[in-house]
């Protein structure tokens, strides 16, 4: 367990040393969210209707952007190989790296989402639900993304491929997340879908670390 936190700490330290990598997905997320009202016009009802979905899609795309660097540099400088050779289980080490990715790339984005929701004129209940669904749903995006990032770490120009691999798998998270945020904005109860979203996250948490570890071993092969 301590090795898990050691990996997180190390990765966080690395991330804060290069803050531009940290800021880039976040700025991208904000810009994409700004583009929707610009493209759709100022009709408040329309913006309210598309808001939760638009913010969720933007979060998904921003996640993809940050996933590209998840294993790439570690693969290039050989530290991924060292992780694989260490006596600790590789799945735990990689789960630590994924957790660090979530903390660095997803949490700021989740916290910013309610603010951006103001631009779509989403009522308070909807903003709250948006925060909640993103908080529960984004770990799954990081986890699924870590599988894709591990599969493509050894390939050049893999960002497009990563998107093709990961986006279809993210469909359930997107549906439950965006739709329940939307339902909440319309004043409905969303306990059921939130539980399902949590269930998906637990499932991803238990299964994907093994897939990621297997994928890293294949990439290192």
């Amino acid at each position: 367990m301590s090795i898990f936190f050691a990996v997180i700490k190390h990765d966080l330290a690395m991330a804060f040393r290069r803050w531009s990598d940290l800021a880039m997905p976040l700025v991208f997320f904000v810009i994409v969210c700004t583009l929707f009202p610009l493209a759709l016009g100022q009709d408040k009802e329309l913006l309210q209707a598309v808001g939760p979905g638009a913010i969720w899609v933007a979060a998904l795309l921003a996640t993809l952007l940050s996933l590209n660097t998840l294993f790439r540099e570690d693969f290039d400088d050989g530290s991924l190989e060292q992780l694989a050779l260490s006596e600790h289980p590789l799945s735990v080490l990689l789960l630590g790296k994924t957790a660090a990715h979530w903390l660095v790339a997803e949490v700021p984005l989740v916290l910013l989402a309610p603010l951006l929701a103001l631009g779509f004129d989403i009522p308070a209940a909807g903003r709250e639900a948006l925060l909640l669904t993103l908080l529960i749903g984004t770990p799954t995006l990081s986890l699924l993304g870590s599988v894709g990032a591990a599969l493509t770490a050894g390939l050049r120009r893999a960002s497009g491929l990563l998107a093709v691999l990961i986006l279809p798998l993210s469909v359930p998270v997107l549906i439950f997340g965006a739709r329940s945020a939307d339902l909440a904005a319309r004043g409905q109860s969303i306990e059921g879908p939130l539980l399902l979203l949590g269930g998906i996250t637990v499932l991803a948490l238990t299964l994907t670390p093994f897939a990621t570890a297997a994928a890293v071993r294949v990439t290192l092969d």
């Binding site: 599988v147 390939l155 491929l161 798998l169 469909v171 299964l207 897939a211 994928a215 990439t219």
Partner: protein, 260 residues
């Protein structure tokens, strides 16, 4: 006691012969020979059944009382949709077997079923859209089954693109195998989520692409078509597996004997 020992011996012989059969089937040269021999029969059988099924569906089945003759698209839509899922399961199961037991032939099967599966998925989508136009009044409705089929197409394409991007066959096999297994775990969740998503904003009641209340004259051509598609899929699979075996075994003795 001797009878028990005799029985055990028989058991052992049976297990050994089963194992032997399995082992031989798993050996690429043996499978290559079997596939070569069976392939024309599969393709021929598929062709005959396709003609019978299409004739039965187009000419002999009575028109549906709701959808009239429009329902006849069922005879090409449902088998395509069925086979697309079947092909994905074959791909995932074969990938899992390959990953667990490091079996080369299993990876050949997985790699071979992807393009055929993608073709069936594409057909299911297109025929679904063609069916939707007269029945729903629109080419594309976000019907849960069509949507899930669309995601399935993306999964097939991702699998094939990942294979394409990896230069080394061994690595491509294992990487795409992991993707297929992750995808098959995800598939029921995708289905369920799409159904839930559809149920929360039920529009004006659409007429579903349901199997219409079906009677015998309508049913048998459908079953014939499904069997025909199965045979065709296995035929395509065998051809494609032979290509995969050739690529993987190109430096072995039996391949040079085969080709010279």
């Amino acid at each position: 006691m001797p009878s028990v020992a005799y029985g055990r011996q028989l058991d052992a012989i049976f297990v050994l012969s089963m194992w032997n059969w399995f082992f031989k089937l798993g050996s690429p040269p043996h499978f290559y020979r079997i596939a070569t021999r069976l392939e024309p029969w599969l393709m021929g059988g598929a062709l005959v059944l396709l003609v019978i099924g299409a004739y039965g569906g187009l000419a002999m089945a009575p028109p549906d009382y709701l959808q009239g003759d429009g329902f006849r698209i069922i005879y090409v839509h449902v088998p395509s949709a069925f086979l697309s899922m079947f092909a994905y399961s074959v791909m995932a199961v074969a990938s899992a077997i390959g990953l667990i037991w490091r079996m080369k032939l299993a990876f050949c099967v997985a790699a071979a079923s992807a393009p055929a599966g993608a073709a069936f998925t594409f057909l299911a989508l297109c025929t679904g859209a063609i069916w939707g136009e007269p029945i729903w009044g629109t080419w594309w409705a976000w019907d849960p089954r069509l949507t899930a089929e669309l995601v399935l197409l993306f999964l097939f394409l991702g699998y094939m693109l990942l294979r394409q991007a990896m230069p080394e066959t061994r690595q491509a096999d294992r990487a795409s195998g992991i993707l297929a297994v992750v995808g098959v775990v995800n598939l029921p969740i995708i289905h369920y989520s799409v159904e839930w998503w559809n149920s929360i904003h039920q529009g004006p009641s659409l007429m579903k692409l349901e199997t219409p209340s079906i009677d015998g004259d309508m049913l048998w051509p459908l079953l014939v078509m499904i069997v025909a598609y199965q045979l065709l899929f296995i035929g395509i699979l065998f051809t494609s597996i032979r290509t995969q075996i050739l690529l993987r075994e190109r430096n072995t003795r039996w391949i040079s004997d085969l080709l010279s």
